[in-house]
């Protein structure tokens, strides 16, 4: 065996050598931006230097042909530099307005949608799903592809009241994160336990400790040390599954899709908010999840028609009130929408503020 090389623990590299030269030159000295058209941002620096940023969507999981194609296009149009956004969009920076349209044309010719800026529906933040996760109830890339096909127009057009950020998550751990609209798997049945395996695979005390509602206890099953779940207490969250794979929580039929709205991390106007449950029980219907797409599009259509300019999803709902959100979207308000987790009393309406 060849001698192993000790790692060079070099940490995070300096961004300067990778940065577009105009960005580097004007680092910390920008004074103005505008949004000339969908997918294009304009920035001006103190020095008078200008950059036009062209933003476009990708599949995030990129094959080498696509990566090399992006490099060819950046060499041809954008001085050999690019950057990626937190939502897996790519940004090419150009230093003259005349370079914008030819770049957009070529990006479109290769199937890259240009958009995702300002008041658009941006790319969906997502995780790994069936492709690489060890505990997924559904796929991530596929859900995103299917939904972005449906929302393509909203990505390239910027016609929403304000920006709309979406996320998907393949289990309730919600790695996709908070969003204006979050699509999250929701298990509805307790884990099915393979008692033959638990003792060998799972560190039982830590599995017991993971349960948010203390529903798991050690037990002897068929003469073997195992774990049992008090199914009356179990909230089907799946927290026990990662540390103990024999406690299978994923269920092709009973793991459903839920939809949450109104999450926002920006401090603009209101303080940051967590998204709230609005719909559940939707089937995990690969490969295109049409039932999920229908609900997402319905919510977006109502928001688009009803919200004032600059109102994010949560601002809009704050103004119109939750009862009217449910009325306008036609989504049923059920007992499951009333929170009973810790701190839930603060989510109740302790007033006579009621809109009629």
């Amino acid at each position: 065996m060849a001698e192993l090389r000790a790692p060079d623990e070099c940490g995070v590299p300096d961004a300067a050598p990778f940065m577009h030269p105009t960005l580097l030159k004007n680092y910390g000295k920008w004074v103005f931006h505008s949004h000339p058209k969908p997918g294009v941002l304009y920035h001006r620096a103190e020095s008078g230097d200008e950059v036009w940023t062209v933003k476009f969507g990708t599949a995030r999981q990129l094959d080498l042909y696509t990566i090399r194609l992006l490099c060819d296009l950046a060499d041809k149009h954008a001085d050999g530099h690019m950057r990626f956004t937190a939502r897996s969009n790519v940004e090419f920076m150009v230093t003259s307005e005349s370079k914008v349209d030819p770049l957009i044309k070529e990006l479109n010719s290769h199937g890259f949608p240009v958009g995702g800026t300002a008041n658009s529906v941006s790319m969906i933040a997502h995780t790994q799903g069936f492709l690489h996760c060890d505990i997924p109830a559904t796929d991530a890339s596929g859900v995103v592809k299917a939904l972005m096909d449906e929302l393509h127009d909203e990505f390239i057009k910027c016609e929403m009241p304000n920006r709309v950020k979406l996320s998907t998550s393949c289990c309730e751990i919600n790695c996709g994160g908070q969003a204006d609209i979050a699509i999250i798997m929701q298990h509805t049945k307790p884990p099915r336990i393979n008692h033959d395996l638990v003792a060998n695979v799972c560190e039982r005390p830590s599995v017991v400790a993971r349960c948010p509602v203390a529903a798991i206890r050690p037990a002897l099953v068929n003469g073997k040390p195992s774990l049992e779940v008090d199914e009356k207490k179990c909230i089907c969250c799946g927290a026990c599954f990662p540390p103990c794979p024999p406690m299978q929580i994923n269920d092709p039929e009973n793991s459903k899709v839920a939809i949450w709205v109104g999450g926002k991390n920006s401090n603009a106007r209101s303080k940051p908010t967590f998204h709230k449950l609005v719909a559940a029980g939707l089937p995990n219907n690969a490969p295109r999840w049409p039932e999920v797409a229908a609900v997402v599009k319905k919510i977006l259509a109502v928001y688009k028609a009803d919200a004032q300019p600059w109102e994010r999803m949560n601002d809009w709902i704050e103004r119109i009130g939750w009862p009217r959100f449910f009325e306008k979207t036609g989504l049923p308000f059920t007992k499951f929408h009333i929170d009973d987790w810790r701190g839930s009393r603060t989510t109740l309406n302790a007033s006579t503020h009621i809109r009629f």
């Binding site: 192993l4 090389r5 790692p7 060079d8 623990e9 940490g11 995070v12 590299p13 300096d14 940065m19 680092y27 920008w30 004074v31 931006h33 599949a59 995030r60 999981q61 094959d63 080498l64 042909y65 696509t66 990566i67 950046a74 050999g80 530099h81 690019m82 950057r83 990626f84 937190a86 920076m93 949608p113 799903g129 492709l131 690489h132 060890d134 997924p136 890339s141 596929g142 592809k145 096909d149 309730e172 919600n174 790695c175 994160g177 830590s206 400790a209 948010p212 927290a239 994923n250 092709p252 793991s255 991390n265 401090n267 603009a268 940051p272 690969a286 490969p287 004032q308 300019p309 600059w310």
Partner: protein, 431 residues
């Protein structure tokens, strides 16, 4: 040339439609290598059965204890042999990108060449924690692939109970809202603590994120244990030319409805020029020959809304710095928690300022390491021990900016009231 593709009727349906298709990308790589042929086979099976088939394990590189996400197939036939043997091992290497995720094409091509040689040809740009994800590697190829990546000057990211890969917004590189050097802060903190990243020994994960202004474009407040967010103490800066341009382009209706009435603390007023008030804390800008917009900066909470709507016309003040919030995390185990203020303002300009932030970060990690329970995040620890114990552990002074409102119940023992008042008065006198 690779072996023949498996039938993938489900995945094939994800090749149509206007959005770029990851399936088309996977198939292109499958023309070249068997690992991707079999990956497609397993993925198609998942689409049919709606089950995942990966399990973790222990795969790493020499000298580090984390950073590789091991994946072994669990899709086996009746003889316990993998149904898709060429993708039976499909590990991911997490690599830390430069802050702001800037690349030159030479660097991306080098990554592509390395992954052509050792991997599946699939690279995720980027993961939710901000890593370059080199996806799909056999156990044997992990070490040589890593050595070539490391020789490029890139280091491995975090996984498991460890310091995790960090993210910062585009910030100073291309944004006039930026209030501090995000990339410098990120590198200062992460690079001082890589030992806790590469040799996982914390109670659970610890994430730092850096956003240049309260728009918080990398979602530090909800997604990091310690969020460093840019802000300013003095008055909003104004530029009359841009303000008049906005007014010309949008008109009075938009100014009133989109800007003034959406100020969350009603800090903005529109006045006839003649009625303008003056004061040290007032920002005033003419929007036309008759009207001025005035901002009472003591009432302003730096939410960014008016700056966002009137770019260039309104800009952050000159006395910039950061607010630090602690305890953001997702669902497990107590429910999602938001980061909350522990340092309302600190300057972040001089090398000494950055060193102070670095020390605070180190103290934060140390306190977490010593006090959190296994698999407990910082937000949960604070929920368990109370914010005051956390602040005292870190020697951070209490501040009314840390709460939405003071305590609303009397269930607290307060026999040290006089001593606490004394402390507060001493601090005030020293300031």
């Amino acid at each position: 040339m690779a072996k023949k593709l498996h039938d993938t009727p489900n995945l094939d349906q994800l090749e149509s439609g206007p959005w770029p298709s990851f399936v088309t990308g996977l198939k292109r790589e499958a023309q070249k290598r068997d690992i991707m042929v079999d990956l497609l086979g397993q993925l198609e099976t998942s689409y049919k059965t709606k089950k995942g088939y990966w399990k973790g394990g222990t795969v790493g590189v020499f000298g580090y204890g984390g950073g590789v996400i091991p994946r072994f197939t669990e899709l086996k036939d009746e003889n316990e042999n993998p149904v898709f043997p060429d993708a039976a091992e499909f590990h991911t290497l997490r690599i830390m990108p430069p802050p702001g995720m800037h690349y030159d094409t030479a660097t991306l091509r080098k990554f592509a060449d390395i992954w052509d040689k050792y991997g599946s040809g699939l690279i995720g740009l980027h993961g939710q924690s901000g890593d370059i994800m080199l996806q799909g590697c056999s156990t044997a190829n992990v070490q040589p692939a890593w050595e070539e990546v490391n020789a490029m000057g890139f280091d491995m990211g975090g996984a498991g109970p460890a310091l995790r890969t960090s993210m910062s917004c585009v910030g100073q590189a291309r944004c006039e809202m930026s209030c501090f050097d995000e990339a410098k802060a990120l590198r200062t903190i992460i690079n001082a603590n890589v030992d806790d990243m590469h040799r996982p020994a914390l109670p659970y994960k610890f994430k730092f994120k850096f956003s240049g202004c309260p728009n918080d474009c990398v979602n530090s407040i909800q997604r990091s244990d310690m969020a460093t967010i840019g802000t300013w103490r003095d008055n909003i800066q104004v530029n009359e030319q841009y303000a008049r341009d906005y007014m010309k382009g949008h008109g009075m209706d938009k100014l009133v409805n989109d800007v003034i009435s959406k100020c969350p603390t009603r800090a903005i007023t529109l006045r006839n020029k003649a009625d303008a008030v003056s004061g040290d804390s007032v920002s005033t800008v003419a929007v036309d020959d008759q009207h001025v917009m005035q901002i009472e900066n003591h009432d302003c909470v730096r939410c960014m809304h008016c700056l966002n709507v009137m770019p260039g016309a309104l800009l952050p003040g000159k006395d910039k710095g950061v607010t630090i919030l602690v305890g953001g995390k997702s669902v497990l185990k107590i429910g999602a928690t938001m980061g909350t203020v522990v340092v309302p303002f600190m300057k972040l300009q001089s090398d000494e300022d950055f060193e102070q932030l670095n020390e605070l970060s180190r103290n934060m990690i140390d306190f977490f390491a010593e006090n959190a329970l296994e698999h407990e995040r910082t937000g949960e620890m604070i929920e368990r021990i109370g914010l005051v114990n956390f602040l005292e552990g870190l020697d951070l002074p209490v501040d009314a900016n840390m709460v939405n409102h003071p305590r609303a119940n009397p269930y607290v023992r307060m026999d040290e009231w006089d001593e606490e008042v004394e402390k507060v008065n001493e601090r005030k006198a020293a300031a």
